[in-house]
Symmetry: C2
Amino acid sequence: MNLQDYHLTLQDVSDQRPEYLETIFSLGNGHFGVRANDPINGNPISGTLINGFYETAPITYGEAGVGYAQKHQTILNLPDLRHIHVTTNTGHHFTRSKRTATDLDLSSGKLVEDYLTSTEQGETVRMTVTSVMGQQRSNFWAIGYTFAPGNYAGGLLISKSIAVPAEVEAIASADPRKTRLAGVPICETTFLAADLQRYHVKTHNTKQAVTLYLGLLTAQASLLQQSVDLSDRQPHTLEYEVYVGDISRQNTIDPSAMFVPTSLDALTADSRDFWQDVWQRSEVAVEGNDELDLAIHYNVFQLNQAAGRDGRTNIAAKGLSGSGYEGHYFWDTEMYMLPYFIYTNQQMARQLLVYRYQILPKARERAHALGANQGALFAWRTINGEEASPYFPAGTAQYHIDADIAYAVGKYYEITRDLDFILQCGFEMVLETARFWEDFGSWQQVGTDCRFEFHTVTGPDEYTALVNNNYYTNRLAKHNFQLVVDLAREIQKRSPGNLETFGVSESDLDVYQNLADHVYLPYSTDLKINEQDDSFLDKPRWPKDRSTPDNFPLLLHYHPLTIYRYQVAKQADTLLAEYLFPEDLTTEELKREYRYYEGVTTHDSSLSRSIFSILAARMDDREKAYNYFMDTARMDLVNLQGNTADGLHLANLGGSWLALVAGFSGFYVQDEVVHFTNHLPKNLKRLTYRMKIAESVLEIDLTATTTNVTVISGPIPTYGVSVNGKLISLEKVS
Amino acid sequence: MNLQDYHLTLQDVSDQRPEYLETIFSLGNGHFGVRANDPINGNPISGTLINGFYETAPITYGEAGVGYAQKHQTILNLPDLRHIHVTTNTGHHFTRSKRTATDLDLSSGKLVEDYLTSTEQGETVRMTVTSVMGQQRSNFWAIGYTFAPGNYAGGLLISKSIAVPAEVEAIASADPRKTRLAGVPICETTFLAADLQRYHVKTHNTKQAVTLYLGLLTAQASLLQQSVDLSDRQPHTLEYEVYVGDISRQNTIDPSAMFVPTSLDALTADSRDFWQDVWQRSEVAVEGNDELDLAIHYNVFQLNQAAGRDGRTNIAAKGLSGSGYEGHYFWDTEMYMLPYFIYTNQQMARQLLVYRYQILPKARERAHALGANQGALFAWRTINGEEASPYFPAGTAQYHIDADIAYAVGKYYEITRDLDFILQCGFEMVLETARFWEDFGSWQQVGTDCRFEFHTVTGPDEYTALVNNNYYTNRLAKHNFQLVVDLAREIQKRSPGNLETFGVSESDLDVYQNLADHVYLPYSTDLKINEQDDSFLDKPRWPKDRSTPDNFPLLLHYHPLTIYRYQVAKQADTLLAEYLFPEDLTTEELKREYRYYEGVTTHDSSLSRSIFSILAARMDDREKAYNYFMDTARMDLVNLQGNTADGLHLANLGGSWLALVAGFSGFYVQDEVVHFTNHLPKNLKRLTYRMKIAESVLEIDLTATTTNVTVISGPIPTYGVSVNGKLISLEKVS
């Protein structure tokens, strides 16, 4: 496999509206993100998002209740870093701008945009904007503006500074009383030198602070007044660098933090190194469809841009590409995005799980607020660990997030065998979530059958709420119990004496094993399929006369009460459990269940199609797998959901990677064996991708007739590798 | 039975806090209510509530959804009519006041209160306040202040006017911008003469208007300046009358509406006539417990004060005694309060049902918003007919309100045979609600059984939400279908040709009969009881370790998710259906079911105990019936729920009447026979009460050994009367 150059350009996307392109061409590095807004004529949805930098505001309920989420948490939209103020030397202001070309280099992270900009008086100038994020140097971002003559070839006066966002200015000037300004941060700016601006931003309620610096890299001049003379008809470039400090949690500004500018080139080199490393360990390429090939590269690129790397932040539902879902972290991370990191970048995966450990104390509080006497319940949507979902039937009721996180810990350990993480963070999370399930569930005697049940929960399918014994929830809780036992055995084996420090005795383990053995899993003997919940199959199907395209997504057309009373699913629910536990069903059973649930699923959630693709591949229905995959792979590039302007659908990006890897190549890990099965759809000539499992980078290469797994770097793995059902010996590529 | 004088005094209530007494001694006449606040030292919770005079404000949702209720509707708290400004002629202001005695005469509606009032300087004066509502003249209220020397016996300067409420003043003066004032009405006041003030109040959003007049009845003087000289050491009285106009729906003021003051005595006579008539047809007396005897009189008194009489208003959950529940009308009316009116005052009952007919167009809109293609769905809580419940799981999901209203129409017709009402209003409501059920439910094939089911509903029990086949809901919907057929047959019989005008054909009636015959009623073959819903009995019981008194009411201590997942009921649910349909169960079956549900019911709702009392009486468990009754009968007089300051628990007042009548005397009507059965608890020597059924006032008299029913006035009824299981012939008392 040759690591190739991939570029995303304007020609590769279907929508040309500025707010859409801002999202698509946004840059990020896990710490912060910069949307690709037009530097001249403002920003439909500006600007700069710092992962985990947020403000709170009280949630207002028409009718409140005990234990309801108390505060909105909202990621702050910070000043536009790309804006530049350009006038002719006769004072004509360049206010109009048209994007003429854009090129995002996925192998270096460099974004180059061409604009034709003009004054009210009709003078035009061509402007090329080059920007890049620091990646190892993740506090940095640099931008260069190259001006070349259009119909105007005279002098230009240029000014650039970090400006207080318009919203803040407007409110601040209107009213000196501060009570209504709680959501708006406090901004202070100082010019430390003519070419260096410092900008502090502090929040009222969350007591966070961040310091930004803007430095002029080229020329000895003032940020507020530079000049360029185009009369030589040559292009002239001005370069700037911005430092975005780490978030201070004490609302204090560190005056000693001083920014030393480098150069756009240096930052580009830093970025290129990072991306080369990413592609080296996680390149994914397909032959037979260039659009798709580019799309999957783009998806992997954006996953890496979005993920927090510091153990205190995570992956927001829209990454750092937009403020949709308020910058909150959901179960999307563990179920849809984390697998990519577990299997390509162990350190990143660990950091994402460490974030969950950081908020474990809040999860303990939440369990208590929900009436549990023990354990921890993670918030359904959050930044700081507190529940921020104001609609509990599709928020807090999705208790399964607890088991999702435990599942992710298990998958992480399974392949990394990172006992240090388990001892420091992982086991405690698995134990505390199991303790919650133990308290939350109840023993029910049904005939001679004694079983452990969970009532009034909402599963992944948000079109069905507050039901008993959701299969997905119960299956994952069962696994959560089992994981306590399994990890405890690992600790006993690999680190004797350490289990006791968690207050876990042998008899506790017996209790968890017994719970794992007795969690009830609803099954329809009529249909011979696992049942989504106790009542799902008893409900009428969604009416045919309301199934024309203009009725979807249902949530935008119908009251929840109307949706809830039908047997209709927004997304994979029981099938999501089947995807996670391939050992549970024979192919025949899976086919039967798939056929049934496919008939009642609308895929109104962006989390659905990838799972349907993976399972179709597992059933070897390659055409169906391909079709579902095609809907996921280019979801944002074709603006399928119509709301990409609010940010990318990060979980779907992760899901599209899963569809290729877990779907087309049948990847899964079980009992220390890594399995691959060739389900390559006939529309694709070839699929080649890399993973890093333990210390080894593997390359998997599939064609219609061949399935090869080779070791690209690192040792020959000690785990088993099975290809198309046969254990093979790996060889290292020369 | 001798119609006696009953007086409620300070000695009869357990709580002496002003805000509590304001509620208890509030006066009303269906059109408006005046809380008994202290005229001197202000009003913890002032003031004047006009039935149906309300303002709207947008409901804010943390996370909104399609079809959610859009606007809060809030009854307005209007100016305090009781306030009076008193100073010594040396300018010392009487600002302190202590209520020393209070007497509410239930036979005349006159309220007399004694206060000792004082200045900052220590002068004291005794003040007796006499007030009365017009009843036939329901726009009027009068008040007299009698001053007598305390330690001060000099001149007094007195001023009285209707003042803009403090809240309005404060906001109006703070900020000229009106956007935040939407909820506050516009007030304008004019002195038409020195002794006559006019006060207009208009709402912004609902475009309602009301005109108030305040007139000075005694002395030729100015409202703003009167004087009294106590140096003769005699009491001196000043009297005033207030006219509260009808609500104008066009936000217009009728300048010609002119108020002609009468006198406190004249208004007292008007009030006494009204109450004599009330008692004449609905006196309820018990012997053996004076407290209880007074309490039940008080309850009937307050029911009559609260009920709207104009066909455009109804009975708010707190009546006109407080602004709790925002002045909204609930199902409480039809299920708990209307029976009293149906069986004592047919005209009032009709007007309360006409109100529902007035909002039928809104109910049609609501059905459509909830995804129905036909029919009407009444709002769970409302003033203007639009849904105002911001929490749909315990609001809109209580679809049963539709069948409750239909049931009430049926009960009204059953005893009145008022075909005119059925043709003008009743049948259309029954038909439109049935049409909703038809659209809302679905046919399910279970084995060979084809049944009609209702999914994702909330029954009366608000501790269980969004379940399938709630027994109460299904039973009432079944009755709703049957009622269409039964009333259609009545129309065919009594007014041939009229059925067609409703667009109802014979084949439609076949459809409704078939639906009525096939509505599914869940039944537990294990427990041999009707099942509250498909899943209630599968849930664990509420934990014993959370059953100490400080855990109740559960809704104030636990998240709804915690409550919902247990088998725990806030109130009678399945048993409420059993109460409504005595023919459904044998006594043995009822006992079994009662025993079961009693064990899982917390009675956290004030609607619960009265039903448990009635059914215990039906089972002839007289001691239990008495105990539950005792908790309901004096609920507000002992401030059992602790929140009587917000207003009286009107439904419970109605429920306590039901407990006596439907419980202790076993009253029910079926197939044109009125049944009475003596279940008098041994703690009571005697129960005597009156009802007006059709044109006849009956008196029912129970002792341990006797059960007598006699006709007090009107003709000997044509319907059958059964006493203790035997049909009897009624005789008219001499």
